[in-house]
C-alpha cells in the first residue's frame, strides 16, 4: 500500500514580466529548479505553419547545456499541445503564438516547472485562455511511497516519475507522462495527490496576479 511520504511542494516563486521585448514572460521557481518562459503572440505566422481556423502554437525549448535533440523535441510537443488546450486558439486564426522556454537550473520536477512557467507567461501576455493549467511531478520511491515535487536525487532513486497537468476548471488531467515502472494503483494514488497539490498552485497563481494588479493600481 503506497502512502504519501512527502506531501509538501517545495517552495515556489514566480516573477512575471521579467523580459521587456516579449509580449509576456515569467520565471518560475520550484525549489532550486528555475525556468524562464517568454511568449510572443499572436504574431505573423510562417505560411507552412498557418492554420485557417486557429492560431498555431509553437514551443521552443532550450536546455541549459547542449543542443536540443529528439528528447527536447518530444518535450516541446508535449508542452505545445498542453498550451493549445488551454489557449482559445480559435480566436486568432492565421496567427502564431510562440513560446520560448529556457531551462535555467534543474534540481528535479523540470517538466512541471516548465508548464507552470508557461502558464504564468501566457497570463502575463494577456492571451485569451479557456482556463489555467498547472503541473505537478510525483515520484514513487523503491518502497512504494509517493513523493510530491521531487528533487533530482529523489527522481533518480525512485522507481517511477509521473507528471500531471490539470485544468483549473474541471481539475481534469490535461497532460500526463511517466517514466519507470509502476502499478496502476500507484498511478491512481499519484494522480490524486498531485490533483490535491494542484489546488495550492492555482491559489499561488491567483495570489501572484492579485499582487501584480495591486501594484498596477
Amino acid at each position: 500500500m503506497s502512502c504519501l511520504k512527502q506531501s509538501n511542494l517545495r517552495g515556489f516563486a514566480c516573477e512575471q514580466s521579467c523580459l521587456t521585448r516579449s509580449d509576456g514572460s515569467a520565471t518560475f521557481n520550484q525549489g532550486e529548479t528555475t525556468v524562464l518562459a517568454a511568449v510572443y503572440g499572436p504574431v505573423e505566422v510562417k505560411l507552412s505553419k498557418e492554420h485557417v481556423e486557429k492560431a498555431a502554437v509553437d514551443v521552443i525549448y532550450k536546455p541549459k547545456v547542449g543542443i536540443p535533440g529528439c528528447k527536447e523535441k518530444a518535450t516541446e510537443q508535449l508542452i505545445k499541445s498542453t498550451c493549445e488546450t488551454v489557449l482559445l486558439v480559435a480566436l486568432h486564426p492565421r496567427t502564431a503564438v510562440v513560446i520560448v522556454l529556457q531551462e535555467m537550473q534543474n534540481t528535479g520536477s523540470l517538466l512541471s516547472c516548465c508548464i507552470n512557467a508557461c502558464c504564468q507567461a501566457l497570463m502575463d501576455a494577456g492571451i485569451n485562455m479557456r482556463c489555467l493549467v498547472c503541473a505537478v511531478t510525483t515520484t514513487v520511491d523503491q518502497e512504494g511511497h509517493i513523493i510530491l515535487d521531487p528533487t533530482s536525487k529523489q527522481e533518480e532513486d525512485g522507481k517511477a516519475v509521473l507528471t500531471f497537468a490539470f485544468d483549473s476548471k474541471t481539475n481534469g488531467v490535461i497532460m500526463t507522462t511517466t517514466s519507470g515502472i509502476y502499478s496502476s494503483q500507484e498511478y491512481q494514488e499519484c494522480l490524486l495527490s498531485a490533483q490535491h497539490a494542484s489546488a495550492k498552485i492555482f491559489e499561488f497563481y491567483r495570489d501572484s496576479i492579485l499582487k501584480k494588479l495591486s501594484r498596477v493600481s
Binding site: Q77, F166, G172, I174, S184
Partner: protein
C-alpha cells in the same frame, strides 16, 4: 449518400456513429483493429518484425541491425539501443521527402522511453567486454502505411523485432586483443522477459472514449492517450499530450482495457514466434 455526409460534416458523421457505440468501420468503441504480426521477415536484419493493423491500414516494419562499438566512458558495461521511427513520404499523402517530422521525432523518443522504462532489452547481452566493446542495436521502424495509431503499431513492431533479435558470439583474444566473430557458436537472444504492449485511446467531444483510432479519427479526436502495460499488470508508459481533460475514472478505464489488450497481443506474438521456431 453516407460519403457526402462524411465529407461535409465529418464531426457530426462520427458523433452519430459513436453515440450508438459503433464506428464507421464497424468496430465497437473500445475494440481494436485486427493485428497481423510476422517476425524474422527481413533476412539482412539481425531481428525484424512486420505489424499490420486493420488489414494493412497501418503497416510498420521494424529491423534491428547490430553493430559493435566502444561504450561511453561513464557507462562502460552498457550497450546502445538506438530506436528511430521513420515516416517516409511513401506512407501518407501529407508527407513529403525531407527531415523527420515532429511526429516522427516524438515517436522515436516514445520508443526510446518504452525500451528504457520497460527494460525489455537484456542489458547483459549487449556487453561484450566492459569498457572496450559493446553492441549497438539500431532499431529502425519504418512506417509503410499510415492509417492512424502509429504508436501502438510502432511499439508492437519494435518489441517484436527485439524479441526476434539474436547476436553472434564474439571472442576476444586476451593477448592480441583481436576481436573475432565466432560463427560456430549459437547466436544469443537480446530480449529480456519484460514484454511491453502499448494501447492507444482517443477521446471525442469530451465524453466519448474509443480505442485504436484510425487516421480520420485521430484528426477529429480532442485527445489521445497511450498506455503501455507489462505482463504483471504494471505500467511502463502512460502518455497523454494535452487535449481535452480526462478524469481519473476515464484514465483507469483506459488502463484496464490496455491490460486486456496487452495479454491478447503478447499471446499473438509468442504464438508467431513459436511457429517460426518450428
Amino acid at each position: 449518400m453516407a460519403d457526402v455526409f462524411k465529407k461535409v460534416e465529418p464531426a457530426e458523421y462520427y458523433r452519430r456513429h459513436l453515440t450508438h457505440d459503433a464506428r464507421p468501420d464497424g468496430r465497437q468503441l473500445l475494440a481494436f483493429r485486427d493485428v497481423v504480426v510476422s517476425v524474422g521477415t527481413i533476412g539482412t536484419a539481425d531481428g525484424s518484425a512486420l505489424v499490420r493493423l486493420g488489414g494493412g491500414g497501418t503497416t510498420v516494419v521494424c529491423g534491428v541491425k547490430a553493430e559493435l562499438a566502444s561504450p561511453r566512458p561513464d557507462t562502460p558495461a552498457r550497450g546502445y539501443v538506438v530506436p528511430n521511427v521513420e515516416l517516409p513520404a511513401l506512407c501518407a499523402a501529407t508527407l513529403r521527402p525531407g527531415p523527420p517530422t515532429a511526429l516522427a521525432q516524438t515517436l522515436s523518443q516514445a520508443m526510446a522511453d518504452l525500451i528504457e522504462n520497460s527494460g525489455c532489452v537484456d542489458a547483459g547481452a549487449l556487453c561484450v567486454s566492459p569498457g572496450r566493446l559493446v553492441w549497438a542495436l539500431h532499431v529502425d521502424a519504418v512506417c509503410l502505411a499510415h492509417n492512424g495509431n502509429l504508436a501502438d503499431a510502432c511499439a508492437a513492431a519494435v518489441v517484436a523485432a527485439l524479441r526476434d533479435t539474436t547476436l553472434p558470439a564474439i571472442t576476444i583474444d586476451d593477448e592480441t586483443g583481436r576481436v573475432r566473430v565466432d560463427s560456430g557458436r549459437e547466436r544469443a537472444p537480446v530480449a529480456a522477459s519484460a514484454f511491453p504492449v502499448a494501447a492507444s485511446f482517443a477521446k471525442f467531444d469530451n465524453d466519448i472514449l474509443f480505442a485504436d483510432p484510425t487516421a480520420e479519427e485521430e484528426a477529429l479526436a480532442t485527445a489521445t492517450v497511450t498506455v503501455a502495460t507489462l505482463e504483471d499488470g504494471s505500467l511502463c508508459l502512460l502518455h497523454k499530450a494535452g487535449g481535452s481533460a480526462m478524469t481519473e475514472k476515464e484514465l483507469q478505464q483506459c488502463v484496464d482495457r490496455a491490460q486486456v489488450r496487452g495479454a491478447e497481443l503478447r499471446h499473438l506474438v509468442n504464438k508467431v514466434a513459436a511457429s517460426k521456431e518450428c
